[in-house]
Point group: D4
Chain length 166, copies 8
Amino acid sequence: MNEMDVLIVAGSENDLPYLKPAIEVFDHFGLVYRAFAVSAHRTPADLDPLIEEAHQAGVRAILAAAGHAAHLPGVIAAKTLLPVVGVPVPSSVLKGIDSLLSIVQMPGGIPVAAMAIGEPGAKNGALFIVRFLALTSDPLKKKLEVYRKSMAEKVREGQFGYKPKK
Amino acid sequence: MNEMDVLIVAGSENDLPYLKPAIEVFDHFGLVYRAFAVSAHRTPADLDPLIEEAHQAGVRAILAAAGHAAHLPGVIAAKTLLPVVGVPVPSSVLKGIDSLLSIVQMPGGIPVAAMAIGEPGAKNGALFIVRFLALTSDPLKKKLEVYRKSMAEKVREGQFGYKPKK
Amino acid sequence: MNEMDVLIVAGSENDLPYLKPAIEVFDHFGLVYRAFAVSAHRTPADLDPLIEEAHQAGVRAILAAAGHAAHLPGVIAAKTLLPVVGVPVPSSVLKGIDSLLSIVQMPGGIPVAAMAIGEPGAKNGALFIVRFLALTSDPLKKKLEVYRKSMAEKVREGQFGYKPKK
Amino acid sequence: MNEMDVLIVAGSENDLPYLKPAIEVFDHFGLVYRAFAVSAHRTPADLDPLIEEAHQAGVRAILAAAGHAAHLPGVIAAKTLLPVVGVPVPSSVLKGIDSLLSIVQMPGGIPVAAMAIGEPGAKNGALFIVRFLALTSDPLKKKLEVYRKSMAEKVREGQFGYKPKK
Amino acid sequence: MNEMDVLIVAGSENDLPYLKPAIEVFDHFGLVYRAFAVSAHRTPADLDPLIEEAHQAGVRAILAAAGHAAHLPGVIAAKTLLPVVGVPVPSSVLKGIDSLLSIVQMPGGIPVAAMAIGEPGAKNGALFIVRFLALTSDPLKKKLEVYRKSMAEKVREGQFGYKPKK
Amino acid sequence: MNEMDVLIVAGSENDLPYLKPAIEVFDHFGLVYRAFAVSAHRTPADLDPLIEEAHQAGVRAILAAAGHAAHLPGVIAAKTLLPVVGVPVPSSVLKGIDSLLSIVQMPGGIPVAAMAIGEPGAKNGALFIVRFLALTSDPLKKKLEVYRKSMAEKVREGQFGYKPKK
Amino acid sequence: MNEMDVLIVAGSENDLPYLKPAIEVFDHFGLVYRAFAVSAHRTPADLDPLIEEAHQAGVRAILAAAGHAAHLPGVIAAKTLLPVVGVPVPSSVLKGIDSLLSIVQMPGGIPVAAMAIGEPGAKNGALFIVRFLALTSDPLKKKLEVYRKSMAEKVREGQFGYKPKK
Amino acid sequence: MNEMDVLIVAGSENDLPYLKPAIEVFDHFGLVYRAFAVSAHRTPADLDPLIEEAHQAGVRAILAAAGHAAHLPGVIAAKTLLPVVGVPVPSSVLKGIDSLLSIVQMPGGIPVAAMAIGEPGAKNGALFIVRFLALTSDPLKKKLEVYRKSMAEKVREGQFGYKPKK
């Protein structure tokens, strides 16, 4: 495995599509990532080598998405000291409230940064990672400022009837 | 570790008192058990040797209790083929609804048998284990029949004014 | 009724389709089962003879699925000492949270092993039964090990870009 | 068992105190009742003779209270054609939302009349029974009218500063 | 208005279709009813004359269905001493949990008999009314017994593979 | 009844203490109010004369607080064209989520302005009324500006270590 | 910006369609409004000039709608002394319960008047504003009385079989 | 303001005690922080200068805690490009489920990293910040490894009867 900024892990193949907004953010910011479907429950033995390789590849953040009793982000956070961001996937009949509580209610000691349920959470998970990687990268910080402005512009185009005076 | 019927694991020292009703059931039925506090998140490396020793000690059931984002029963179920029973502990401000969903909403493939939140769940978790161990033990089955009758008697003593004609 | 390993009961004809994943598991493992729609409320008198026949047929586990105020698994557990596994069916407008609480929150004394809402729960209910039946059947235990590995392989095929080094 | 208007059943001895407001209502209206603790799960066999005796005693309404996975009212309603009123008891850590859903979400065919969680529900359950018994009893109807007026008077005494002009 | 057994009121025209199962039950049992859409909020002044006419028509039960903040059953129960049965309608984005709590959580003093959310609740609301009207009508009681048996038969036809020995 | 700015109504005597923060706000702003306990269910007949008198007294806002199935604010809003503000009271075992949904989920046509559950809601209900009364009263508007500043000062005193430069 | 009665703000372009019922109400009552999509999070800097212009245009009420963690109404209420009405939008997978709690549970000091989730809330938000603007406008008050009557008429047309005697 | 690693902001003075576990973590790791009570609603004008000074003091992370409709973390995240971690405080009668949803359900574009409700969340929020600051600080990384080990040791001391063989 080559150099890599972010490791993306989904709890199942079906959870991967929810991560598309995260991948678009990483592409936009030029971060190197790879995405895998590894189940905390069905393929737990695959997590250790994957995390080990991620450490060796210089990964600086892990984005983990899972549904139902979503243990994946917490289980990963227990196996690494890297920052882990969790995205609850609305794949069960409970629409992700189970995933959210399983991710956000981590007991004290092993932190996971929880995001919103589903696609907004995937986008924000990636943007949050960009925020802390930008702490030590001026080019990334500048891209982030530009991104923020163009996002605001886009909201403004959607406004009908109002543009603030510059 | 000597021969053992049931392995009891709590996610933290604070969760152990909730398991007292389970221990009373195992004592009543003469099942050999040992109880440990092992955190799926803070001491995940301790789980593998513990489960390994349990296999060697001939353990036939695992009772796991945890609160908050309660991953412990699911994480154990992913590491063994033994039946795992999960008890949600009401240790968070959400009173155990987080623990319950984190335990019961396991995705298809790795089963955990969820019980009620807190002490009724601990008692029933132990009784459920007795039920399936009694499938192949006539003495246990007989004890279970007696237990059931004396439980009914106790309910009847609490009744005021009514006793069914025998 | 001939020899039978598992009795499957659904609270209504409409709940039966949710049990398909359980039936696939039992077929895979060669367990003998029969499935019935018996309502705890509309046909309660049918439960006693059904359970009686199940006892005589040597049944060792009961899988019961129900929706709404899902009393069926608890009512069956009160009439037998066999292990009863409950699957909450998302057939009401509340999407199964009512079924789940009606099944999992059993008071102390009469245990029901609750599974996830809907199809993942049906699959896991069957797999949980296989787990405890495998305690006393080496062929079943071996099949379970193979099943577990092929499930992991299937997850791995869904991964894009990652396979652990053997 | 002598002549009796109402049969009161609580799912456990601990649930009986919640029924005090119901008993006060029945006493006030001079209805004959008897109260029992019979568990739908732990003493299910006691239900049939109890209901049978109730039928013979001329009972015209059953008030059933239970907590957790509160099956009692539904199970009774399945065994009789008498009107059954269910009171959810807040005896679990979930404060009765489990009891409420287990009672109110009865599937079509077997009706239970659900009341509010806890003591207001017990009081209203009794008053509801008085309402339909008053359909065929003029003395009861008159008492109900008086009760209603004195209840209003009591609310008015609690008002500070306002009394409607007569 | 002629003689009438049951008054049916829905909180809005849109809530009326949910009451179809109730109407089928009343038709089946030969009960005379009339149905109206009267809003507790938008046409509150219509409630008083409607209830007054119902009293004069000899109505013995009121079935009220409403959605959202479903005040209708409680508001009616405050204006009459007749038994009022409330059916929560799942017409809001919250799928009826708001309607259910607005109907079932009545404070002590003014009882409403709450049924399940939506169509099962409508059916059961009507059947509950039949139950207490049958207390003083032998023909109704007999019809109810027949209804119950044919309902059980219908469940049995849906069973595959099982019929209890007569 | 003399001239009055605000009518305060609580659903029961027990709900009145929750309104203390509202009364403090009205006192602070010199608004004339009177407070009553009138139950939408137990004393519905008192509402009409009370509202009629309020109209005659020149009342310009109604603050209504209630718990459980909290119909009071909606029932009042259906009887007047004055703006009605509703405060959900956490008086039931459900801690006010029932009160909140019963107040906020009003169907389209009859508006109630819902506030937070309990004391923060009572305070804000009063402040919201001040806001719209200040639209046509410069003295009130000035008092509101002063109030806002002193509230900010109070927050700042609670800060440790930080005061913004003026 | 010219004279204006009401400022409408939606948290995103996607939330605007939910406001159509509010706009119909304002059109019906001849209130002058303008609607904008301004995000409390993505374009927070646009809020200050917008509110400033609203003040200058004589705006007397602000209707703000937002979904997810719906901060917009609260953030606006913190920047103005005008009355702010909040409409929770069901745009997330949680169907607006998140939006509702984010809007209604404002801490004491900064009031927001919360309405029902989605379109009924938008309609009522506008009608609530009409109510308090009508306090000082007789023509508006008269229109409101007419509106109320025609709304009642419309409900009555939906009734089948019943019209109150005039 | 001198050099500072972390800015801590609580929504009110009452929310500060919940942050004690975070402060203990920062003290342990030798991170420089300052804590303030600034309300997103009552003192919004204080946020801009505070954030500006934080930027100048070289702050690399913001930990924000708030209760009820907890807008603070999102409002801060909208005003900075620094990573913002949000801790939901259980200060309302809803025990923090309102705070949690108001923090975690941020719409796409402005990320907030949500932690568990209350003290476990405060501790984990601080530990998460340590994780990403350790990405570029070897001493911090080493301290984190030591911390992790001693946390595991402490869990093990709480175990009764089990220590893994080294």
